[in-house]
């Protein structure tokens, strides 16, 4: 495709790396100083309301809160650069260890939800565009409108009621049945993968039964918006002259749709799918709460309510890294999908 000079390439890579680092630094700074204005007294949360003045004062100093803010910030940054992100008050573990534990659960749920959402939403959107204003389009509109407008927690609760409580087709809360918990060795943190690696099919099927409902509910919401967007992208492309030109050549309708029109919406579609994935990884708090899913969304919410800056900082950084990574990935794929972006 593009013929860049090698030196140019290195320069570009360095530039984008620098811009990533600056973005992350700004993010850390902003979050740190926003944390200072949070009306939460962490110390009293730690020592409890009945602690005496001396204990309070000692904890206050141990946390370094008696230093000027700018010094606290400097200490935080220098520790962070050494890889020390501090301890989480809630769990007493290193924050990074916590993240390594909870984040894979969210990745697993979010990825499966995205596969369901995009895998169904995109083809449905194409179908709706092709069948515009015909019965199929109207049916799809109703289905997606429900996904848009019905609160996700309600769908989740009703799903649990129907498929877990009445029908017993799926598992309830958590990632596996309680008696399977911790049975397989953690390698990737993705339970579906770990159980297969360990060759434990019983745990695997239990995990499948547990993830399928939350992933479907989460996927349904994203399916709705992806379907609507795909439909409007496709309608836009199908009215273009090059589509008529393809028909003039005698190209079959299937190829007109997929080979010509769809090829032109890949870039737009990629952008919205990347953003959707980002927001899923950021944590589907409601779904994680309803399904007792020990993921990132729950962790972040709990720590926000507690006001634990150590944990919050790392969570915010992680969200930043997720979006930057997804953006860079999307940028990279643009160059493959759209020849016009290559110089």
């Amino acid at each position: 495709m593009g013929r860049f000079f090698k030196r140019n390439k290195i320069k570009r890579a360095a530039q984008s790396l620098a811009s990533v680092l600056v973005t992350l630094l700004l993010l850390v700074t902003l979050t740190f100083f926003l944390g200072q204005v949070m009306p939460v007294d962490v110390v009293s949360r730690l020592v409890g309301p009945d602690a005496d003045q001396a204990t309070y004062q000692a904890t206050y100093e141990r946390l370094g809160l008696d230093q000027p803010i700018i010094v606290q910030f400097g200490i935080y940054i220098s520790r962070m650069l050494q890889g020390d992100f501090g301890t989480a008050l809630l769990t007493g573990h290193q924050v990074l260890d916590d993240i390594v534990r909870v984040f894979p659960a969210t990745i697993e749920l979010g990825t499966l939800a995205l596969l369901i959402g995009a895998g169904i939403g995109v083809p449905l959107g194409v179908l709706a565009a092709v069948q515009r204003n015909r019965p199929a389009d109207h049916i799809i509109r109703v289905v997606t409108l429900l996904g848009h407008s019905v609160p996700i927690f309600w769908i989740g609760l009703m799903g649990l009621l129907l498929f877990y409580s009445y029908l017993g087709w799926v598992g309830g809360g958590g990632r596996v049945e309680i008696y399977y918990d911790g049975l397989v060795e953690t390698r990737t943190g993705l339970l579906l993968v770990d159980s297969l690696l360990a060759g434990d099919t019983e745990v695997f099927w239990s995990a499948v039964r547990h993830i399928i409902l939350p992933a479907t509910v989460l996927g349904y919401a994203s399916m709705a918006s992806l379907c609507r967007l795909t439909r409007s992208f496709m309608i836009d492309q199908l009215s273009q002259e090059y589509v008529t030109a393809a028909r003039v050549k005698g190209v079959s309708e299937w190829n007109v749709i997929w080979h010509h029109a769809f090829r032109n919406i890949r870039v737009q579609l990629l952008t919205v799918i990347a953003l959707t994935y980002g927001s899923m990884l950021e944590g589907a708090v409601l779904i994680e709460t309803i399904f007792a899913w020990p993921g990132f969304g729950q962790y972040l919410t709990n720590n926000l309510l507690l006001g634990d800056m150590n944990a919050i900082m790392v969570c915010v950084l992680l969200v930043g890294v997720i979006f930057i990574t997804l953006n860079m990935l999307a940028d990279l794929l643009y160059k493959i999908f759209d020849p016009r972006t290559v110089q």
Binding site: E241, Y242, G250, D338
Partner: protein
């Protein structure tokens, strides 16, 4: 009006390539139905037939009706609309697909919009061939390269791998011609093929088109609003106004047209040999809208 051979006396050898009798196209609008083409009859042999008229007179709609590529909201009716002995109105989608590109083809106005922006031009030309011939990718590529050469593109192999945004308008239109003629159609509809091009490039494209049409013995419908162009380029001229044919003349007789609208069109052309302050504007008459 053109001579439309009656079914009874039309000899099989003299069968026209395209025959339209009382062709009507209406569009289903939000409120009511809009009649875009109101009873058009003509036939096309191995000749260059021009359809001229102002914007909105329905000339492009006629072209697309022949290809059966009007938008879904269009209602097309006719006493007869046929390619040779194939009735285009009752033909199935599959039959139509077999005809398109292979027997009837169309060159569109602006290559900027009528080439797929994310596919290489070579791929698009080869696709036009592969759609109608079961050949290997390599043979389709060879065919496409030959076609690129035929439309006088100097380095076909280089151009084959270019994307539409990388070629000029003139080259884009040559690519369009190559793409639409690669499967050897018998009828070519050219819908204002040069109006998006610079004047200097225009003549080159017309020369190429002229060569190809002569060489292959095509019947061509040339849709245009450029009277001077049509006079020198075509054999016969149909003048349309408001969805009807007002007059059909031989291109050589274009200066002797009778209908006031045709005269008005001619009079409103700028001239090199006469000094004119302001071009006359056609004084429209409601009676033109009625049957001719």
């Amino acid at each position: 009006m053109s001579s439309t051979p009656r079914a009874s006396d039309a000899a099989a050898v003299q069968m026209p390539l395209i025959e339209a009798r009382d062709l009507r196209v209406a569009f289903q609008m939000q409120r009511g139905v809009f009649q875009a083409i109101r009873g058009v009859s003509f036939s096309l042999g191995q000749e260059k037939l021009a359809i001229v008229g102002e914007s909105g007179s329905g000339k492009s709609t006629v072209g697309r009706a022949i290809m059966r590529l009007n938008p879904p909201s269009a209602i097309v009716t006719a006493e007869r609309l046929a390619f040779k002995d194939v009735d285009l109105l009752s033909a199935s989608r599959k039959e139509l697909r077999r005809l398109r590109g292979r027997h009837i083809s169309m060159i569109m106005q602006d290559p900027k919009y009528s080439l797929n922006p994310v596919a290489t031009v070579g791929e698009q030309i080869a696709e036009a061939y592969r759609t109608h011939h079961k050949v290997s990718n390599r043979e389709a590529r060879e065919r496409a390269l030959t076609m690129l050469e035929a439309v006088q593109i100097r380095s076909p192999k280089r151009v084959y791998d270019l994307y539409p945004h990388q070629v000029s308008g003139g080259m884009g239109q040559r690519i369009m011609i190559a793409m639409m003629l690669i499967s050897d159609p018998e009828v070519l509809i050219a819908d204002e093929p040069t109006s998006a091009l610079d004047v200097t490039v225009r003549l080159q494209i017309l020369a190429i088109l002229d060569d190809m049409v002569k060489e292959r013995g095509l019947g061509m419908i040339f849709i245009s609003h450029d009277l001077n162009l049509v006079r020198s380029f075509c054999d016969r001229v149909i003048i349309m106004y408001a969805g009807r044919i007002v007059e059909t003349v031989a291109a050589a007789d274009l200066d002797n047209v009778q209908h006031p609208y045709s005269r008005g069109l001619l009079n409103s052309l700028p001239r090199l040999d006469q000094k004119r302050d302001r071009l006359p504007v056609i004084q429209r008459d409601d009676s033109w809208l009625e049957a001719v």
